[in-house]
Amino acid sequence: MGFQPVYVVDGARTPFLKGRNAPGPFSASDLAVQAGRALLIRQSFAASDLDEVILGCASPSPDEVNIGRVVALRLGCGHKVPAWTVMRNCASGMQALDSAMANIQNGRAQLVLAGGVDALSHAPLLYSPAMVRWFALMMQAKTIAQKAGVFAKLRPAQLLSPVIGLLKGLTDPNIGLLMGQTAENLAWRFGISRHDMDQFSVASHQRAVAARAAGHLGEIVPLLDVQGTVYGEDDGVRADANLAGLSRLKPFFDRRYGRVTPGNSSQISDGAAWLILASQAAVDKWRLEPLGRITDSQWAALDPAQMGLGPVHAATPILQRNGLALADVDLWEINEAFAAQVLGCLAAWESDEYCRQQLDLPAAFGSLPRARLNVDGGAVAVGHPVGASGARIVLHLLFALRAAKARRGVAAICIGGGQGGAMLVESIS
């Protein structure tokens, strides 16, 4: 049986708010609730008519581990709509879509709310194992003398140097590399210069600024905090981004000798993105007017040290299956974890050697025209709330195709740990 297309009825996301070294104004579930309720009130069905809710989240906080269920209840879906949380690092949001599609395709569900969220600014500080052992001793101490003895063993340095949860999350546990160091690997392998990366990043900001001015970001619904502050836009986008400014930033991951800087990496952000996925039957039942369809999807895996090339490995089989060349796709979204990583993907497709060795192709797969890639900017400018990004790029791709009156698009994302995910979509105008 072939791939049954699944309809994307509608979608919405919050503005992405840049992490500024302190917890942001919204928890992850707050973000997902605000985007979700704005999306649901414009539908012809009620929240309780959903068959399930699936939410991707890479780092749910300890008090909402199954954040999908927390959010579904807060959205007023009622007690009877099942909800779950999926985790595939940077592709958690895309995994939520894929899981929703699978359930729709096999007839378990007709109408699913799926998306992704992360509030990385809320990532916890953790105690080191040494500190945890100290707490355990303290709990066992019964007498005051025993307690004093344990207390004397406390090393303030341990107390004051917590493990930064976020840094743990952005480090590959198998090979011990930071994600940015895997991007340095790609820059080295494909000879991507600092200048190329910075130029790519400036373009990302400029495209995001232009998209905002042209009203091409219709998927954003504003956030409102309890102090009455309205957050209407992605706040990491810099209209003043320029080469001179970016070239002054110091490399972050290989501090003295590297090329990857905070300026040519995605931003650590808080945000949520949702899509409503539906079967043909649900479209008919509720008289929905879908944005488009997801017509294929693919997961792939590769060397964790080269994780940034995941989009190449995931998107290539889709194109092959559908008889398409890179240039046959009207618009592309490749999540910009790092400028070097997106440029690495393009270089890999253009490399005879890489395509022969890694993709079993006779020669280079081809060139992806830059004018079709991330036309409204990407995560370098907009931000990368890990779990949300996979859903954001699929959603935005459908909006961008509609704006461009184009039909076919591919969204692809690289995944920490050495994986890639991609989806082929079609706009319905």
């Binding site: 704005a38 009130i41 414009r42 502050t229 209407g232």
Partner: protein
């Protein structure tokens, strides 16, 4: 022990395997329990049978889902025409509960839901009190609100249980405690979830541990230092109620201080309370309130979704109130920036009310900003609350009419425009009704439900049920300028401003009406309403040619718009009017100022704007705060002329 469980009409009595007796009150023919004379006689006979054959323990509980016991049977109060009957009523409960308090076996009241008045006095007479941790659990002695005193042992036992300061606060304000607070104050011995309540009741009563005594300071205050507490309480009461208007709170303090809480020891106080028109009038007000609530029961309509257009003070507060009462609300205005202040205000108000952070989060989740108005199409009730402009409202209502559900209630919160003019462009003009809230929405219990010419009766019934659903009192009125409340306030405020024009000080005018028993003086009321609104309403009520009072016009022209602009007649600092000392109030001033209000109320009844005099009285009391002890303007007029 041999128990015939059908021996009583209102009580079910069982003795379990452990020898504990469970007395379940399930008052015949009612949905809530109250302590009628029959219920109390049966309780007396239960106690009598246990005197000869004591159980291991006796547990009181309720067979009603609504709550434990709502209080005495208020219907019986209306038959107290002689002092002897009043004394007999007090005696009945005082002696029965003393008897209950003195039994040899342990007793426990298992309180789930409301436990008010005589219900709490019964619970206080038990050795133990166990409360179920649910929002509906409320314990209080609200007798003072009916102008009477908690004479069945409340004045004796509550101060002894939780200390006199907290006890007097409860008895003098009528405020109820929730389950957690009851535990914290020592009123309840424990506070448990429903799932373990029966087990907890049995364990507590079997253990039969001595009760925790109040702290030493509280015991001193309830003993040798009583005078200190009583003095402070009298001062506090004097700030809110004058003894000539409200004798009951003063009597409560006296009976606690001088008569050990035994009202029977002060028959002259019972006599004065039973005979005073205040208690009669307040009981009447209570029944009028029940009548208003009853209007909401004419339809089984239950709204789930509300859509409010206009996020100004009224629209925003209406939306916030509906969300607080459990409805999902979409709030529409032009852009998120306009809606944001309403949500900020709502959050501040909720934060004061809701202690549980999850409840706070859930109510904020239910209040949904909706700049594009998507919520209208799925709402059960749609309320228009934009600025008072006929064309703007008409255009909006026509848009809404086209998208909302065919059976949705479409309502306007207009205070000055005619429903018929607003609705004439609609497909079915009869579908538009008025649902008129008062400012501040969270504090004003009355909502006028306005029927225009040819209003759809089903929509009216639904709108009325909706008002009841959100715990407001629906008052049916016909469409006429100012409906009832604003129409009677207009001439009253006008007369007050005329008096100011004649040279009386603002404070003197206000003082005259405070002494009359109004909660706020008429001049301060104009500030509260807004001088701009007063100008506009004056024109719509008195005609465009009518000359506004000089004092109003001058201030209006100077941009002094009232409390909202920081200055109107008075200057406002931190939201409070800076008032000087009032001068001597000229004789007859209050009568002169209130006369136009009385006259207009009568006129509106004559014109059929409000169905009868009782409803007019109820509307004016709950909509304006008109001195409740008078029983309302028309009742006042009637009694004055007698």
């Amino acid at each position: 022990m041999n128990i015939d469980s059908n021996a009583y009409r209102n009580w079910q009595l069982e003795v379990d395997g452990a020898g504990l007796a469970w007395a379940t009150l399930d008052k015949a023919g009612e949905t809530t329990n109250s302590l009628s004379s029959e219920v109390m006689d049966e309780l007396a006979s239960i106690l009598a049978r246990f005197d000869s054959e004591p159980p291991k323990g006796l547990i009181f509980r309720s067979g009603k889902s609504a709550g434990f016991i709502a209080g005495a049977d208020i219907q019986e109060f209306t038959r107290l025409d002689t002092p002897a009957k009043g004394i007999a009523l007090v005696e009945r409960g005082w002696q029965l509960f003393n008897r209950l308090a003195a039994v040899s076996y342990p007793t426990l009241a298992l309180v789930r839901g409301h436990c008010l008045g005589g219900g709490l006095e019964l619970a206080l007479a038990c050795r133990y009190l166990l409360v179920v941790d649910e929002p509906a659990t409320r314990l209080g002695l609200p007798e003072v609100m009916l102008g009477i005193v908690p004479g069945w042992g409340g004045m004796l036992r509550l101060p002894g249980r939780i200390g006199p300061q907290a006890a007097l606060d409860m008895m003098l304000t009528g405020k109820a405690l929730d389950a957690k607070r009851a535990k914290r104050l020592g009123l309840a011995d424990d506070c448990v979830p429903a799932r373990v309540m029966d087990n907890a009741a049995a364990l507590l009563i079997v253990a039969d541990q001595p009760r925790r005594r109040p702290p030493v300071l509280q015991r001193l205050l309830n003993g040798p230092l009583k005078r200190l507490v009583a003095g402070a309480a009298r001062k506090q009461v004097a700030r809110r109620a004058r003894v000539e208007h409200y004798p009951a709170p003063y009597a409560i303090i006296d009976i606690w201080e001088k008569y050990q809480g035994n009202a029977l020891a002060a028959p002259e106080l019972i006599d004065s309370i039973v005979r005073s028109p205040t208690a009669r009038n307040l009981v009447r007000v209570f029944f009028m309130q029940e009548r208003l609530k009853g209007f909401g029961k004419a339809s089984t309509f239950q709204a789930k979704r509300v859509h409010v257009v206009g996020a100004g003070v009224m629209g925003g507060d209406i939306a916030a109130w509906c969300a607080l009462r459990g409805l999902t609300v979409t709030l529409q205005d032009q852009g998120m920036e306009r809606i944001a202040p309403a949500l900020q205000r709502a959050y501040a108000a909720y934060s004061k009310r809701l202690k549980d952070p999850r409840e706070l989060r859930d109510v904020m989740d239910r209040l949904i900003p909706d700049p594009e108005g998507h919520g209208a199409k799925s709402a059960d009730v749609v309320i228009e609350a934009i600025f008072e402009n006929l064309d703007a409202k008409r255009a909006l209502l026509e848009q809404l009419d086209a998208v909302i559900k065919p059976d949705a209630v479409l309502a306007t919160n207009t205070s000055s425009l005619r429903i018929e003019e607003l609705s004439s462009g609609l497909g079915r003009p009869g579908r538009l009704i008025g649902i008129h809230f008062f400012n501040p929405v969270a504090n004003m219990p009355l909502v006028e439900v306005v029927a225009g010419e040819g209003a759809d009766t089903e929509i009216l019934a639904r709108g009325t049920a909706f008002v009841k659903q959100i715990d407001r009192l629906p008052l049916p009125v016909k469409s006429a300028p100012g409906f009832l409340v604003n129409a009677v306030l207009g001439p009253y405020m006008l007369e007050a401003m005329r008096a100011v024009d004649e040279g009386l000080a603002l404070e003197t005018v206000d003082e005259a009406m405070l002494a009359f028993g109004m909660p706020m003086g008429p001049i301060e009321l104009v500030d509260m309403v807004g001088l701009d609104i007063a100008m506009a309403v004056g024109k719509s009520l008195a005609g465009a040619d009518a000359e506004p009072p000089r004092c109003l016009l001058e201030r209006f022209n100077a941009g002094q718009l009232g409390k909202k602009s920081g200055r109107g007649f008075y200057e406002y600092r931190q939201g409070k009017a800076a008032k000087g000392v009032p001068g001597r109030v000229p004789a007859g001033l209050a009568e002169r100022l209130v006369a136009p209000l009385l006259e207009r109320t009568q006129q509106l009844v004559n014109d059929g704007i409000v169905a009868d005099a009782d409803l007019a009285d109820a509307g004016v009391i709950f909509g304006t705060g008109f001195a409740p002890f008078t029983g309302g303007p028309l009742n006042y007029l009637r009694n004055r002329n007698v």
